[in-house]
């Protein structure tokens, strides 16, 4: 799935809804949920909280959550939050899909 636009206190409820929808549509055989962040230029703590929740949801279902193609400003924000090591982050969809 792909998220677009700024994710802040105003838009993170929509993002949470989109992620919930993606969870509902997941195949029985799926091993991972991939979230493409290339079109997100800004994310605040409410966006990060949404991703942390998604990760916790994934863990409950024995799925991996992989974040793909972070834009430079979002990478800076992850660093500031010291989350670069908490999430599995991949440079491209191909790399994120490899070895699943």
């Amino acid at each position: 799935m792909k998220i677009r636009g700024d994710v802040d206190m105003s838009t993170s409820p929509d993002v949470r809804g989109k992620i919930a929808e993606a969870f509902r549509q997941i195949d029985a055989g799926s091993k991972a949920v991939l979230i493409d962040l290339s079109q997100v230029r800004y994310m605040d703590s409410s966006g990060i909280a949404t991703l942390v929740e998604a990760m916790q949801n994934c863990m409950k279902r024995s799925l991996r959550l992989r974040l793909v193609d972070l834009s430079p400003p979002v990478r800076d924000i992850f660093e500031l939050a010291r989350l670069s090591s908490v999430f599995e982050i991949y440079a491209s969809l191909a790399e994120a899909e490899a070895g699943l």
Partner: protein, 137 residues
Amino acid sequence: MTATAAVTLTVPSHPKYLYVIRSALYPLVIDAGFSKKEAGKIILAVDEACSNVIKYAYEGDHSQIITLKATTEDGRCTIVIEDFGKQVDASRIAPRDLADVRPGGLGTHFMGTVFDRVEYDTSRERGTLLTLEKRKG
């Protein structure tokens, strides 16, 4: 720069105006000589402070107002955020331990990491003045 080189912005206490705040502040911070990367972090921390005003000072009431006053000079920016809501209980404001991965507690961590000065003033009868200041690099 003279005292008039300040920009004042008043917006309703609704999350949709966070984007307006970010858009207005970014060019000011760049103009003060901060890099794009530094400016991005400053904007993030201000956004978190304003989100907290909406969540805690106004308890989700979107019909109130938030006023930002940004004063920039070469290599320094000061942003004062004013609300007229419930006053901050300074003892309750604490960033969480980052090793404890869960939603929440990041906003104040960002503010404290990004800014050199984070000062809550509740000496007025109502509301809080939050002063955020950053010197370049």
